[in-house]
C-alpha cells in the first residue's frame, strides 16, 4: 500500500510524519506547480473551487508516481468541501485510475471515532505505536507553526528578505527530514538564532490580520504566497487559522488546552448569529477580534465562488464601518494574474501606512499655480 494525501501548505510535513509513523509507505504529493493546477483545472468541474482543483491535480501526480491509496478528509455542513472526497474519487475513476480512497470523517460527537479510523488505516501497528505516531506528527505540526510565525514576525522587520526566506525554507526542509523531537527542537533554535542575527531596518511595521477560508490561508500556492508578499512590504501578518488550533477546536473539541474559538464566535454574534458553513462565522468573528486588538487592517481571502466567504464578505462591510477597520477581500482562482493582486496589496499596505503616519498632519502642496 502506497499512500498519498492532499497538499495543504505545511501540514503536509505533519501528515507525512503521521502516515510514516503508522508504518505506511508514503508518497507525498509533489509540490504544487503550474502543471498541478493545469491538470486539476482540466479535469474538475469549472464552478468547483480552487481547493478541489488543486486536490485533483495533486492526486493525479501522486498516482503517476506510484501511489495506490488516497487519504482524504471528509466533512459536513453547508460548505461543498464535505462532498469533495466523493467527487474527486469519481473524477479519478472516470479517468481510469486504479486506487483506493480512505475518507477520514470529522467525528460527530466522539473523539474515539477518529482514532478508530486512523487505526483502520494501519492494521499492523500496535496501539502504542499509533499513539506515538500521532504525538510525533503533532510535534512536527507545532514546530512548523513556530517557523511560520517566526517568518511572519521577522520577514517584515529584516533588511534582507531573501535571507529570511531561505532560513525558513531550510528549516522546514530539515523538520520534514527530522526523526526525533530533540532534532526538531535543535532546528527551531538554530533558525531562531539565524533570524535574530539578520539586520533589522527599525522602520514602522503594519499589522494585518489575514482571515478567510482555511485552505486558501494555509496553502501558499492557492494564495500567491500572500504572507511573504506582505512581509516584503513590511507588513506583519497574523493568520486567523493555524492548523493546530483548527484541529483542537474542530476535531478534538478543545481538549488540548486553551482555545479562543468560543471568544471568536462570541465576537461574531453581533454581526452574524448563525454558523453559515465553512469558516464564514469565524471570518466575521476574527475580523471583529482583530479590529478590537488594534490591528491596522484585515484582508479576507478565499477561493472564487466560496459560499461561506461570500456570506462573510457582505457582513464584513458592516464590521468595517462599526469597528472602524480597513478591509479588503481577494478571491483567488487559477488565472488571477499576480500583477493585479500585487497592485491591490501594495495599495492596501500604502493606505494603512499613510493613514497611520500622517493622520491629520499633512499640509497639501500647491500644484497648478
Amino acid at each position: 500500500m502506497k499512500v498519498t494525501f492532499p497538499a495543504m501548505g505545511n501540514t503536509r510535513i505533519a501528515i507525512k510524519a503521521l502516515l510514516e509513523g503508522l508504518r505506511l509507505e508514503v508518497i507525498p504529493p509533489p509540490p504544487i506547480t503550474k502543471k498541478t493546477i493545469e491538470l486539476g483545472v482540466k479535469y474538475s468541474p469549472e464552478f468547483a473551487c480552487m481547493p478541489l482543483k488543486i486536490n485533483v491535480g495533486n492526486f493525479i501526480e501522486a498516482i503517476e508516481k506510484g501511489a495506490d491509496t488516497i487519504v482524504m478528509a471528509g466533512g459536513w455542513g453547508p460548505c461543498r468541501f464535505g462532498y469533495y472526497a466523493q467527487v474527486e474519487r469519481e473524477i479519478l475513476k472516470d479517468l481510469g485510475y486504479d486506487f483506493k480512497m480512505v475518507i477520514l470523517e470529522a467525528p460527530d460527537f466522539k473523539l474515539s471515532e477518529l482514532f478508530t479510523q486512523i487505526r483502520d488505516l494501519a492494521e499492523n501497528v500496535s496501539f502504542l505505536e499509533a499513539l506515538k505516531a500521532v504525538k510525533f506528527a503533532w510535534d512536527k505540526l507545532k514546530a512548523v507553526e513556530v517557523m511560520e510565525k517566526d517568518l511572519e514576525y521577522y520577514l517584515p522587520r529584516v533588511k534582507e528578505k531573501d535571507k529570511a526566506e531561505s532560513i525558513y525554507d531550510y528549516a522546514l526542509e530539515s523538520i520534514d527530514k527530522a526523526y526525533s523531537k530533540k532534532k526538531i527542537d535543535n532546528i527551531l533554535a538554530e533558525a531562531r538564532n539565524a533570524f535574530c542575527n539578520l539586520d533589522f531596518h527599525g522602520e514602522n511595521i503594519l499589522k494585518i490580520g489575514l482571515l478567510g477560508e482555511i485552505y486558501t490561508i494555509l496553502e501558499p500556492a492557492a494564495n500567491y504566497d500572500i504572507v511573504r508578499h506582505l512581509g516584503r512590504l513590511n507588513a506583519e501578518v497574523c493568520r486567523a487559522v493555524y492548523t493546530s488550533s483548527w484541529i483542537n477546536d474542530h476535531l478534538l473539541g478543545g481538549i488540548l488546552g486553551k482555545s479562543n474559538h468560543k471568544h471568536i464566535v462570541q465576537c461574531a454574534h453581533a454581526y452574524l448569529g448563525s454558523w453559515v458553513g465553512g469558516h464564514g462565522q469565524e471570518t466575521v468573528g476574527c475580523a471583529v477580534d482583530f479590529a478590537r486588538r488594534g490591528y491596522d487592517g484585515i484582508i479576507q481571502i478565499g477561493p472564487l465562488t466560496c459560499m461561506p466567504e461570500i456570506v462573510a464578505q457582505s457582513v464584513l462591510n458592516r464590521v468595517k464601518g462599526e469597528e472602524n477597520i480597513p478591509c479588503i477581500t481577494l478571491y483567488f482562482d487559477e488565472h488571477a494574474g499576480t500583477a493585479g493582486i500585487s497592485t491591490r496589496l501594495e495599495a492596501f499596505v500604502d493606505m494603512l501606512g499613510r493613514k497611520k503616519e500622517r493622520e491629520g498632519t499633512k499640509v497639501p502642496v500647491e500644484i497648478f499655480g
Binding site: P30, P326, A347, M351, I367
Partner: protein
C-alpha cells in the same frame, strides 16, 4: 530649473509630467503606449525635453501604472508606486476636501474613498472590461466615430436608449440591435455612457458610500457624455481637474518630491544618456528550473541585463545582485 519627474505607464496611455519645487506643473506629455512601453518611455522623455528651451535638472523620479517597474528600470526611479496611491495623492493635492475619486482608465477602473486627504477605502474592477475606456473605444470604432468626438455627440441626445451594461459582449449586441432599429446615433452614444456608469456603480463602487466632493479623472474623463451620465446618476457635481489625463503621473512626481525632500538624498535617476542613447531589448524565456515553467522577462540595455521578472521563486529576479547565475536553467 529644479524639477521632479512623474511617469505613468498605463495599458493605453503613457504620461509624463514635470513639477517644480513648489509643486507646480511645468510640462506634461500624453502619448499612447501602443503595446510598446519601452518605446513609449523613450519617446515620452524626448518630447518632455524638447521645445521651450528651459534647462531642467531632475532631482527625483516617480513611476506608477502597470508599467511602473519597467519604467523604474529604464529611468532609475526613487519611488515606484501603485496607481491607487498616485491618483489619490494627486487629487488630494488639488482638492484637499476630496471624498471620492472616480478614475477610469483604459483597462481598469477604480473608486477611491478619502477622508481628510487619506485613502480609507478603494476598489478596482475585477472581472469585466465593460466599465473601462477600452469598451468605449471599441464601441466608438464600431459606430465609426472618433473617440474624441464621442462625448460631444453624446450630450446632444435628448432621449438616451437603454443598453444593458452588465457585460461588454451583451452590451455590444444590445447596441447593434438598437442601431438596426434605427435609433439616432447620439441617443445610442448617451445610452452607452449610461450603461458604463451603471456597470461602474454595480461592479466597482458597490457598497461604497459616495460623498461630495467627487473628482473624476483618468483618460475617460475627457468624455463629457460620461461626466453628464455620472452627474445624472449620482445627482452630485462632478469635478474634472484640468490635467485629468495625467493625474497618475502628477501623483508619482509629488511622491518622488516628498520622498527626496524628506530623506535628503540624491536621485536614482540614471540620466538622459542612459535612456536616450541605449538600445533596450526585452526578451522572454521559459525557466526550466522547476515544473512551474515561469515565463521570465529580461530587460537588456546594449546586451547588458538590467532586470529580470516573472519568476515566482525570484531566483532570476535576485540573480543580478549576486552575480552567480550558474544554477539557472533556460529552456
Amino acid at each position: 530649473m529644479i524639477c521632479y519627474l512623474g511617469v505613468d505607464i498605463g495599458s493605453v496611455s503613457s504620461n509624463f509630467v514635470l513639477i517644480d519645487q513648489t509643486g507646480k506643473l511645468k510640462k506634461k506629455v500624453y502619448i499612447r503606449t501602443q503595446g510598446n512601453p519601452v518605446k513609449a518611455i523613450k519617446e515620452g522623455y524626448l518630447m518632455l525635453k524638447e521645445g521651450e528651451g528651459i534647462e531642467f535638472e531632475i532631482r527625483g523620479v516617480g513611476t506608477t501604472g502597470s508599467g511602473r517597474h519597467l519604467a523604474s528600470i529604464l529611468l532609475g526611479a526613487d519611488v515606484v508606486k501603485n496607481e491607487i496611491t498616485a491618483h489619490a495623492v494627486a487629487a488630494s493635492c488639488l482638492y484637499p476636501e476630496v471624498k471620492t475619486i472616480i478614475e477610469i482608465g483604459g483597462q481598469d477602473s477604480k473608486i477611491i474613498i478619502l477622508d481628510r486627504g487619506i485613502v480609507t477605502d478603494f476598489a478596482m474592477n475585477t472581472v469585466c472590461a465593460a466599465g473601462t475606456g477600452s469598451f468605449l473605444d471599441q464601441q466608438a470604432a464600431r459606430l465609426n466615430i472618433p473617440i474624441e468626438e464621442f462625448g460631444r455627440k453624446a450630450v446632444l441626445s435628448s432621449q438616451p436608449v437603454r443598453i444593458a451594461g452588465r457585460c461588454g459582449v451583451f452590451a455590444e449586441s444590445d447596441m447593434i440591435h438598437k442601431q438596426q432599429m434605427g435609433y439616432p446615433v447620439e441617443d445610442i452614444l448617451m445610452g452607452l455612457c449610461e450603461a458604463l456608469v451603471r456597470n461602474y456603480m454595480n461592479n466597482v463602487a458597490k457598497g461604497k458610500r459616495i460623498e461630495e466632493l467627487v473628482v473624476f479623472q483618468g483618460g475617460v474623463a475627457a468624455n463629457i457624455g460620461l461626466r453628464k451620465a455620472f452627474e445624472n446618476f449620482l445627482e452630485m457635481k462632478i469635478n474634472v481637474p484640468e490635467h485629468y489625463n495625467v493625474m497618475g503621473a502628477i501623483g508619482a512626481a509629488v511622491l518622488a518630491k516628498e520622498y527626496i525632500e524628506q530623506k535628503r538624498i540624491k536621485t536614482a535617476f540614471k540620466g538622459e544618456e542612459f535612456i536616450l542613447e541605449g538600445e533596450f531589448v526585452s526578451k522572454s524565456f521559459e525557466c526550466g528550473g522547476c515544473p512551474n515553467l515561469c515565463e521570465v522577462v529580461c530587460i537588456k540595455r546594449d546586451d547588458k541585463p538590467l532586470a529580470y521578472w516573472g519568476d515566482r521563486c525570484r531566483r532570476w529576479e535576485t540573480s543580478l545582485n549576486k552575480g552567480d547565475r550558474r544554477n539557472l536553467k533556460v529552456v
